[in-house]
Point group: D2
Chain length 331, copies 4
């Protein structure tokens, strides 16, 4: 279940402290120009460094193992990996017996009967989103005319994000945030009824990203307090342009050609510097845990580019499915 | 793309005013007791009749076409249908040229190049959720010990739902609402990393249901304003029970055995009795539309049972996948 | 697992003596003209009546439940069913305890823990290939320019098929046969490396048809005794036309534009009028069974149209996948 | 489409002369012991070296990039790769304009609009079956009690395979062969009606392997000349043991617990040392081509282990699906 997509199909692999992490992109059309440096802008955006993120300077360089020849995609699966290095695994030994609250430690042990690689959170690590961003770079090329932009619009409940981060650092605690993503100039007619609506495809991939706990499209949760006559977006021209955009560019699960808008919530990182109550499974009693080591105060700072990548991947799959069934459209 | 699920696989079909609507449930274990009356409680809950819903008295009776013999599932695909009747299609002719704002009329015509059956909104009609509820009855039997309960917790922005509905009726307008769903005694260890997390599977199916525009798990969007030390749920016993439940029973995309909690927002029905601005595509100019006929003031009133069904379907698929990979667990 | 195809997706259901059998075709492009009489030619070819087949005169009429409006496909899933009638189930009671040798009786009971509907062989009945033929009629329209023709080229080891059938009737026994299928004017470039080669897709669906036990493409098994220099097909023009066709129109799993040629073997019907040794599971001892009732002497006579349908379905799926990834081609 | 399987899911990647080839195995149960040396026996069997194969001495060493920790599978996807080395690509330049007859050169150029990596046949190379064998080693562990054995039973039409190879070498030509595969002690009840029969799953993966042009189960094509009373396998004990095995251990698409038997035909390698007619697409005229370089006289010699691996992969997927739907069986 480490694959997403029906035609444009992404498969992710790797553990935080294993030999390598990576991604396979299958079903990618041939003839798309790809070079190593194309990945670097987005990988740097994902990388830590700014206040509120962990201190690593340069992103991991991608190596293309297959699917690109002479600077162009070939139609064969693209495999892109990076080696793990500078791994310090000793921190993680105790989480097997004393799982961190809010973290995947407990479920990981249960799910895999004790066999999961828990070093650096293993396959559950946010580190493997490197592959999502990498695949997203390819996907953005497939969805060529659409311009996908995600931004952190609040953190820790504040719109002044720098202030929120500094306050959290002072408390040795962590904060979450809300990311808004907009797609300008999106293809119309994307989304397949009944079970592969645009929102279904997008939320499916977005909820694979660690720490995401909610998503809303257009007016989202605020729609619950609106009247139908307010929420409906008046159509004002022959291209289907609407006066408002409460639907977030999607009606009946299908894009209507207006800007796509959605927001996701990122929960605060579970590893905080504050004492936490949890259970010691070896000794069979409750205990207190303080997580050591450097951690992100606000992981949400690094996530807009991951949300963009996920959006591009879902859109690319929907574009190829639509083209398969309906032929090339003039949109 | 009218199928959902990897092993427990549901395929939906039908149009509002076509001959019949229905559902196929494939991958259902043999030996589950099923009778026609098992469906009636949930189908009645979905049915209209109360204030704020359209006036049809009895739900459509299910006919089991395959997959059940002598009162038990056989292991072959279950097909369950109902005939459409009392269809008045004349209302819908004009929506092809003058699409209702907020509705699927415009995208439906675009997506299917003018060939879609627009009578009663065709395949986009809320009517085909009859099949979701029907499949949900089977799925609830597969997820046997889990108790799934969804409720409308607010409508039109009010917790007094009756008041909200009456106000909307007085205005000849419509309202949305928020539904909360809880799963008591859920199986632990459901959800497959990376791309089939519990939230991925659930949101995928939930966003197939017409009018859903957002979903949040546990503390959801409010997590954005919490500190990590507040949001983390302290583990307090050897079964992984937690003191709070901000995660909504899910860590790292996998159920942790605590109650599953999520909320969805239902937008107000787009068909209101209020004048709306839209575009006349035949005449190439903006126009005003007032939708005639009986419609739901608050479609959200009928949706809790649909959300329960969707939850049961997603859970059944995750249960069978988990059992395939890991064998039967004692949970 | 009652579905086939990635985009053009066929789902089959029904039991021989249940209320109805049928098929759903999802992912079908909108705008294809479909009427009830379009199905009749192929359904008649599948039907019994000639010497060597059971005596039923007219095929079961298809009813279109969804996906067609005003004579054209709408883009929503097509559901086509027919009611079962004239079912005499009493014959089948004893096969639960005394399984017919060569038949699915034994495995059906094992697989489904005794819950399978064994009347008329239930979901294992050749009767449900009605749905394959019905879906094939739609698929032939999707693969419009390709001309698919299957023929029985030998039966019971003889090319004089009438003679073979009469000999078998005289012995109260049954015979198998070999069917050859040719696709003239096939689309080139169909088939997806690595795991969805043309042969993979085609053999996958063909081996779903009851009684098929082998398939070979082009020179097939005789290639084992050929030299490479003999087997290779010389390319003789700029369209890739070849002088010979030992590859059956497929290289590297992809159609090369030459005629597609393959053969399948149909085993003799297991229900014969001859005494057979089998096991009485109720009494725990070996026994002798003579199957009563009317049965096909040579089921292979009715199968060419089923093979054509399976071919059309696999091709349609490959056409839509290829178009999704590569866009519309001028072939 | 470079993935196979529903739960136990194998994804293949790589080109002959690219940086690396490899495989991802997803859905593999945790807790299976895996070490690098486990792969070597099967990889050596696949390797060249004996008379009639190309002269490379040692197989490519597998590197496990993910999914194994402390000697056991973790439940996360296994990624196993090997680097390509000693690549001489200059030979392949001319095949773009003058495709080798019988080879994938022509279709590869067509399918991928000229972008495919044709060096060493790229993604179409037999070299990438390295990944199939590697995944097969894991799959054989999943299907633990079943003993899968494939053998070359004839080559170039002769049972004396050494003689056949020497004759072909003398002619500077190539030969094909027939491989028989047997599975002793197979699990019963594998195979899912209607569209994922045992034969469907197995033939699907087997026809992904380059050079396979036919498959038959049990009596196979010879069944066409048998009477039903001869072909039917008499059941002789309470476990379903049969006196003969014309069905190849499969009835109705489901394993019956008897030995599984099937045969595949391998066509002769298309690269021969003999002059071949083909087309020069640059100059628009027919031409003669003699393929230089070292090549396998009889590639079939190296293929039994690949067929075993494919069988193990298909069986593992069917085992996990069956366990998902039906729970653990005592077989």
């Amino acid at each position: 279940m480490n694959s997403f997509g029906v035609i444009f199909r992404v498969t992710i692999f790797g553990e935080s402290h294993g030999p390598a992490i990576g991604i396979i992109v299958d079903g990618c059309p041939p003839g798309i120009a790809v070079q190593q440096e194309d990945f670097m802008v987005d990988l740097r955006r994902r990388q830590s460094g700014s206040t509120g993120t962990t201190k690593r300077l340069e992103p991991d360089l991608p190596e293309i193992l297959s699917g690109v020849y002479d600077g162009f995609t070939t139609g064969a699966p693209l495999t892109i990996t990076t080696r793990n290095s500078n791994k310090i695994s000793s921190d993680y030994d105790e989480f097997r017996k004393i799982p961190r609250p809010g973290h995947a430690d407990f479920v990981s042990r249960q799910k895999f009967s004790g066999y999961s690689d828990m070093r650096g959170s293993g396959h559950f690590s946010g580190r493997i989103t490197w592959g999502v961003v990498t695949a997203g770079v390819i996907a953005k090329k497939v969805a060529e005319n659409a311009k996908i932009t995600a931004k952190l619009i609040s953190a820790g409940g504040l719109e002044d994000i720098e202030k929120a981060v500094n306050e959290a650092i002072a408390l040795n605690d962590t904060i979450g945030g809300i990311i808004e993503c907009r797609v300008e100039n999106p293809p119309a007619a994307l989304g397949e009824p009944f079970f592969y609506s645009f929102e279904s495809a997008l939320s499916h991939i977005v909820f694979s990203i660690p720490a995401i706990k909610g998503i809303e499209f257009g007016a989202g949760f605020s729609a619950a307090a609106m009247k139908g006559s307010q929420h409906n977006d008046a159509i004002i021209d022959e291209n289907g342009k609407t006066a408002t955009n409460n639907s977030g560019g999607i009606n009946g699960g299908i894009t209507n050609g207006n800007e796509i808008v959605f927001r996701v919530v990122v929960k605060p990182t579970s590893s905080t510097g504050v004492d936490q109550t949890t259970f010691n499974f070896e000794e069979g009693r409750m205990t207190t845990l303080k997580v050591k080591g450097r951690h992100d105060t606000c992981i949400a700072l690094r996530m807009p580019v991951i949300i963009e990548a996920a959006t591009a991947i879902a859109m690319s799959d929907l574009i190829l499915i639509d083209r398969g069934i309906h032929g090339s459209r003039s949109r």
